[in-house]
Amino acid sequence: MVTFAAGLLDATVQAATVLILAGLGELITERAGVLNLGVEGMMLTGALGGFIATVLTGSHWLGFGAGIVCGVLLAAVHAFLCITLNADQVISGVMITLLGGGLTTYFGSAWVEKSIDGFPEVTPPLIGGYLVEIPLIGEAFFRSTATDYLALLLVPVGWYFLTRTNLGLELVSIGEDPETADTMGISVFRLRYLAVLIGGGFAGAAGAHLSLAFSGLWVPGMTAGRGWIAVALVIFAQWRPSRLLVGAYLFGLLDAFRLRSQSLSLSLEPGTPLAGVLNPVVDFLTNPQIMGTYPYLATIIVLTYTVARTQSDRLAVPDALLEPYTREID
């Protein structure tokens, strides 16, 4: 049981990192008023780009950097389409995901056979030796790759950025009311570009983490829908970094659990009361595929709850999300 729990936690932490990175980026983008449904595509390009760079140069960090760059490049397309050309953000995002998927599968075919040693798992400096000894959670949390730690660090950084810096304040304002922000002298276009590019960079980083730390491989479509989960996660977190972290672990835990639930026999002994009713129900609820629906269902419920409340409570959703902004061209 203990080993099960420890293994579960380890997998949770690993799964959460991807979600944290991609989710943070999407959170920043959406706070600025732009919906980016191309996260999945950007993650894939980051994964492939990072993988290729690492194979060619032998450096993990160069690969990670390359992954970020790939994400940014794809995000630039989305930004140009949505911000400059005022195209529909949804269509552009879906298109980018298709493009990212297609491009990486197409050009990545040559790299499928290869594998590398990913980022090594390390413990934090100085105190690492002690932290790892903590029962149950020690190994899971404190023996991870550098990118895992990076993701954790970026959460408070992201929070600080949005709430305690002028740039963050301005970014939040353009997501709420771009017209007002414009009147106050803030450059809506430039800031939105920045937000989208940051989001792309984070998504690329998430993808690079997948291929460079999580698995050490490149497989077409390896993100397996994690980009979509990240989008759902941002909504589930009601656009707050602290809740994003909790949500990432929650979704990560769900993911880790459902892959392991088969090995854990959760059924009650046939003799115990209600076993006949409860066992099939529990079986159903812990079925891996059924569990796969939970993040999405939870998000729909949270979104409906957020939106359906009275006007003043609707503050959670960035007011100008999905609305293209144009200065009146007269």
Binding site: L37, M95, Y106, G292, T293, L303, I329
Partner: protein, 361 residues
């Protein structure tokens, strides 16, 4: 100095509206050519195989028509809500739901084919409609964004399908994630052009949609709500009713797409049977946004892309992902074209640097 002037067009010239789809496709193909060259393949040869050879061979044409069935129906599933100003990205999930429901009936109900098949279609349509009804209701009731909800429900549906084919609906002989083969009674027979009767259903759906939208009072309302829902409300039209209706019917179409693919072509329900038809439906609906007939044409074109794409990939060793890339590029150029339709771009080269500030725009 290059100066770029943007002026909003007052009236979009008709020719621009027609030329746009054609030009976008050509541009996308041009970009795809670059990807082909990158792999050392001659674009002309590859495209010829993709389009020309496919159309010239009976087999190619038949395959295209078969492929077109779910694409056309899914395209309609996105097209109809679009008319009312809504975005149904969940066609994929509705399609899968329909396939599941229809297959279940096909596997578990014992009736002669002439009764069983219609029942399967009805079940499929109902299941798709039900799934689509959820985002529609949330939008009508609480103004919850239907894009997000329909998208998320797609993933839910995919997971449920995955569960079913590995569990309750799994073929008992063996441990594969698929159902048993559908019986002959539950298989859609060939009807026209050597294609199963699903094609008839698709054509009928196009006709019904066309007539419905263009020629009925309901279609009038749908069009009006999509154009200006505030004015529509003032005129007494019910926005909530229309929203529900277009999504439910769209979902039903998607469900039909699912079952026709299973019972007409694949013969059994597998995990991951649908290669993204629901998402492909989006560019199809965009290309064909002006009428159901155009949706059909767009669906045929994309079917050609798919079929030609796989034969090209076999012939030249090019990953089939090129088709995905082409799809994405078509969307890309489509939405870029939207911009050029709305604004007139004048590019001027100023040689002299004028001392005075120019006159007011």
């Amino acid at each position: 100095m290059v100066r770029i002037d943007l002026t909003a067009r007052e009236h979009v010239p008709r020719w621009l509206g027609y030329a746009t789809p054609v030009v976008t496709v050509l541009l996308a193909l041009a970009c795809g050519a670059i990807a082909l060259l990158a792999l050392g393949v001659s674009p002309l040869a590859a495209y010829w195989t993709m389009f020309g050879e496919t159309l010239l061979s009976t087999f190619g044409r038949t395959q295209t028509l078969i492929k077109a069935v779910p694409l056309i129906l899914a395209g309609l599933a996105v097209y109809l809500p679009l008319r009312a100003g809504l975005f149904n990205i969940g066609a994929e999930g509705q399609l899968v739901f329909g396939a599941v429901a229809g297959a279940w009936i096909g596997l578990n109900v014992n009736l002669p084919g002439v009764l069983l098949l219609p029942l399967m279609f009805v079940a499929a349509g109902t299941a798709g409609a039900f799934l689509a009804g959820i985002p529609a209701w949330l939008r009508a009731r609480w103004d919850v964004n239907e894009i997000i909800t329909s998208l998320l429900l797609t993933f839910v549906a995919l997971q449920i399908q995955s569960y079913l084919v590995r569990g309750p609906m799994q073929d008992p002989t063996g441990n594969f994630p698929h159902t048993a083969q559908l019986s002959a009674a539950a298989t859609i027979p060939e009807a026209i052009f050597n294609v199963h009767a699903g094609l008839v259903v698709a054509i009928a759906a196009v006709a019904v949609t066309y007539v419905g939208v263009r020629k009925t009072a309901l279609g009038f309302e749908i069009t009006f709500v999509g154009a200006n829902d505030a004015a529509a409300r003032q005129a007494g039209m019910s926005r909530g009713k229309i929203y529900l209706l277009v999504f439910v019917i769209g979902g039903a179409f998607a469900g039909l797409a699912g079952i026709s693919e299973i019972a007409g072509l694949q013969g059994r329900l597998r995990a991951g049977f649908e290669p993204g038809y629901g998402f492909t439906a989006i560019p199809i609906a965009l290309l064909g946004r002006s009428s159901a007939g155009n949706v059909m044409l767009a669906g045929l074109f994309f079917a050609l892309l798919f079929v030609g794409g796989s034969s090209m990939s076999v012939a030249y060793g090019v990953p089939a992902a090129l088709v995905e890339i082409l799809q994405a590029l078509i969307i890309l150029f489509l939405i870029t074209a939207e911009f050029f339709k709305r604004y007139q771009v004048d590019i001027e080269f100023d040689r002299a640097v004028s001392a005075s500030t120019g006159g007011e725009a």
